[in-house]
Each structure stands twice: as structure tokens, then as C-alpha cells.
Symmetry: C3
Subunit: 215 residues, 3 copies
């Protein structure tokens, strides 16, 4: 119930921020699909092509984020509180950055074969991306609040699952892998993937704040 | 001297946020006590019980944080600036997260015996928690500012001490421990403990901002 | 176009925040110069003197940041939006913290000789510091926007370069260095340096937000 939410009743429907946020979240879905493909493909040449594609989509995401920030700085009335749009945009950007970081490390550190826990984490990221995209899509009408909340609860529960998966994967790595350099490399990739799910949870929390304020 | 602080004179004393913040900070004291016990107990079965207890208290803390955020999103007038309450609540939550993270790693990585520098860091975290709890408790009346400031200065000085302790512990580890895998494990736990004291400093800084604005 | 920017037309030119921010950014330039000298000097005694000097300048930076935060909490009208001044001050502080962290690790972990990629990263940090200092200096008059934007674009491109440099240095480290403990030590220093350039980019983004709002 901020001053901004009072203003919102006086102005026509937003035609700027909601479409931009939707592009950002659907770009995230695409990146997360490519990540999952990268993890499950065995041809090393095709795997590198996937890393390049993630890079390209990451640049696209950067441009969307940049446009949102420019619009925010020069627009007086926003569909939700200014800082929530900012958190939402940078949160979606952060998820893609960590996905990109993990893909890049797989290439640079010549990780092969892909560790089974990496595949599982990529699958969890893909699920989070899908839920977040649906939640962002529902911000337009602000109807179907029950469904948005279900998506947010799912993201929180996937993140908890990813947390446990990461902790156990690292613990097993310490037991099974005797080469410390290999441990460092694999841990770096797992850690980037796990942080991506943390960032998904941050975005879910931001969306929750937005819908609470509109209530 | 924000618009919010002007409103505060017109409304009855807060009965919502201050008690919630007090629960959060007293929960932190409890978590930090359990952490210290965990570090100083030698019975491995009892140590695991302590990890479980920290987990339980961390969930309790999550619920308090979540309540504060929901209340913030739906309340028009707050006892301090909205974003300061938000920083304070998530700051207290972050400290507990890092305490939990260090306890979990001790269990998962089967760290035994506990490294002496872990015990010392747990003691410093316990001291910070006690000072922060006192400072949060004094926000209610906003009297005894000298005592609050003393607490905040203490937290800053404990954090500096923890920083040096961590740096020296890691440097010694590199010299004394020849097993790289052991280095990685111990460093992970020390690093989570040290980050917990960083988060204590962040909370101290937020409290300082709050009392400066009320001056 | 916030309420604050409307107020700004009604009050005399800022004599408080701009000079403080200028001190903070010129202190950063000094720290980055000392870091570069530290990296290129071969005398180990002089190198330790440089670490001490960075420590001293870091304390000076802390005091400037602290003054800015106190002033922010007690001042009603600010030359730019309150939160942007806050981000700018803590961003400049963060850069110095990571520079200090990398210098401290070089001393503590007895890194000798200095890795060539550390020298290159220190040079990139020095370039970023110079560009940021010029951009901060131009905030006073808000003229010569083209030149500010050029500086910000340069910082973004230097950060991309630092990112690639770091990734490739770590990848090569994994291939060439067989001692895992050495890898961990060198990676810690490189990582602190690379994070310093990330923080430079954050500051550049904050300055961009400030000038967009004034447009």
C-alpha cells in the first residue's frame, strides 16, 4: 500500500514493464532448456554449441535488463513499486548469469563426463524457470492468485531440494574423488548451479512481495 | 527524517514489528548458543543432535522473517523506515543461515575433531548475537542510546577480530595441512563461520542507520 | 523523476555529498595504484609495505563511507536519490575491500612470485578506478554527459575483459599446476581481484541510474 499503488488506479494499464519482464522470464526458460540439453548431450562438439547459445541468450537477457533499468529511471508511474521491478529484473538476470557461469566452467575446465548431480540440478533449475515464468505471466492480470502462490511454493521447495542435493553431492565427492583438483573443478560447477536455484528463490520472494502489496 | 518518521508521531506505539524483530534476535542468540555447544562437545552423537536443533531453530527463524515480510507488504505505517525493517529482518535471517551452513558442513564432511579456530569463531558469533539482541531490544524505547552504540561498536570490533582469526587460520592451514581435500573441507566451514560475523556487522550497521534517523 | 529530484530545484547546490563521494573515488584511485605497484615490485619487504599502505587507505575509505551514511540518515534533501548515494558509497567501499582482500592474501599465503594474470587484473582494476573517479567527478556539474557515458561503457568493457582473463587463468591453472594447494591459494587471490572488477561494474551501473534520473 505505497503511494505508487495509489497512483496506479489513476493511469492506464502498463504497456511497458510487464511485457519486458515477460520477455526476461521467457528468455530464462529458454536458457534453462539449453542448459538441460547441454547436460544430457554426449557429443562434445554439440555441447560447446550449447555453451555458445547460452552466451547469446545471456547477452539478450542483459539487453532486456538494461532496457528495464533505463525505463525505470525515466518513468514516473510503474505498475508495481519501482524497487520491486528492479529486484525482479536483476533477479532474473542473476539466475541466467549463474547458469551461464556453470556452462562456461564445464567448457573451460573440460568437465567430461557430466556429473550426475549436475544433470539433476539442471533439471531443478529448468523446473524453477518454468514456474517463475508462469508467475511473471500472471502478474499482468493479477487474477488466479492461488495459481501464482502454488508456483512460488514450488520454487521454494525445489530450492530446498537443490540445497540438499548439492550438500550431499559435495560430501560424496569428498569421499569418492581422491584427486583434489577434480574436486575443486566439479565443486565450482555444482556451486554455480546451486546458486542459480538460490536466485530463483529470491525472484519467487520478490513476486510474493508484489502480490502481497496488491492484495 | 523521512516521511515515515513524521507519520510515526501520529500513530500509537508499534505492537507488531518490534516484538517480531525481538523474537528474531532472541532466536539468533539461541542458535549461536547451540553452535557453541556443538563445537565444544566431543560426543559425536550429541553433536549431530545439535545440528538437528540448529535446523529446527533455522526453520523457526524463517517463519518469523516470513511474517515480518508479509506484515511489511500490507502495513502502511511502520515504526522505522520500511527498508530498514526489511534489511534488519533479512540480516538476522542471513546470520542464522550461515551458522546453519557451517553446522551442516561439519556433519556432512565428517569434520572431527573440531578445529580450534572453529571454536573461537563460534564464540565470537555468540558474542555478536548477544550484543545484537540487546541492541534490538533497546529499539523499543529508543532510550539508552549510549548503550546501543556500545553494542554496535563491540560487534564491529568482534567482526574485525573474526576476520583476522579467519585469515590466519587459513594461512596456517596452508602451511600445516598437506592434504588438499582436508584444506578444502576445513576452509569451507571456517568461511561460513566468518561470513556469519560479516552478516552480524551488516545488522549492526542497519541498527545504526535506524537510530541515526530517529535522532 | 522522484519527489527528491523535484526538491533539488528548491535548494542550494549540495556542499556535502558530492565532495564526500569525490574523496571516496579518489581514495579508490590511490588504492588501485598501490595495488598495481605491489604486483610489479619484486622486493618482498617493499611489497609488504604496500599491503600496509592499502590497509591504511582502506581504513580511510571506511571513515568516508561512514560519514556519508551518517549524513544520509540525518539529511532531508540529497543531490540524488538517497538510495543511489548509498549504493554509490557502499559500492566504492566494496571495491576497496576486495582490493584489500587480494593484497592481504598475497601476504598471508606467501604468494611469490606474483602470477602474471594477477598483474593484468590489477592493471584492469586501476583503469576502472580511473574511469569511475572521472565519472564521479562529473556528477558535480552534470555537464559533459557524453564523457561520463564513455567512462561507464569503458568500465563495462574492462569488466568483461577481466571476466575472460580470470576464467582462462583458472582453466590454465588447472592444467599447468599440479599442486592442488597452490591452485587454491592462487585462485583465491585471482577471485578477489575479479570480484573487485565486478564491484566496479556495479558502481558504473549506479552512476548510470543517477544520470538517467537527472535527464
Amino acid at each position: 500500500m505505497s503511494l505508487n499503488s495509489v497512483f496506479q488506479y489513476l493511469v492506464p494499464k502498463d504497456r511497458k514493464f510487464i511485457p519486458l519482464l515477460e520477455s526476461a522470464s521467457s528468455n530464462l526458460v529458454e536458457v534453462s532448456n539449453v542448459l538441460y540439453n547441454l547436460m544430457t548431450i554426449s557429443d562434445p562438439v554439440k555441447r560447446i554449441e550449447m555453451v555458445r547459445l547460452i552466451e547469446k541468450l545471456e547477452h539478450k537477457g542483459d539487453e532486456i535488463t538494461h532496457t528495464i533499468f533505463s525505463e525505470l529511471a525515466t518513468t514516473f508511474i510503474t505498475p508495481f513499486d519501482r524497487e520491486d521491478i528492479q529486484y525482479l529484473a536483476s533477479g532474473l538476470d542473476d539466475i541466467i548469469d549463474y547458469i551461464h557461469g556453470s556452462a562456461k566452467r564445464i567448457e573451460l575446465y573440460k568437465i567430461d563426463p557430466i556429473h550426475p548431480s549436475m544433470v539433476k540440478l539442471a533439471e531443478l533449475i529448468q523446473q524453477c524457470a518454468k514456474e517463475l515464468n508462469e508467475a511473471v505471466g500472471s502478474l499482468r492480470s493479477m487474477r488466479n492468485m492461488t495459481k501464482i502462490r502454488e508456483s512460488l511454493v514450488k520454487v521454494n521447495s525445489i530450492e530446498n531440494h537443490a540445497d540438499d542435493l548439492f550438500d550431499n553431492a559435495v560430501a560424496r565427492l569428498f569421499e569418492d574423488e581422491k584427486n583434489a583438483v577434480e574436486i575443486i573443478k566439479i565443486k565450482e560447477v555444482l556451486s554455480a548451479l546451486e546458486t542459480a536455484t538460490d536466485k530463483c528463490e529470491d525472484v519467487a520472494n520478490t513476486i510474493e512481495t508484489i502480490i502481497l502489496k496488491q492484495a
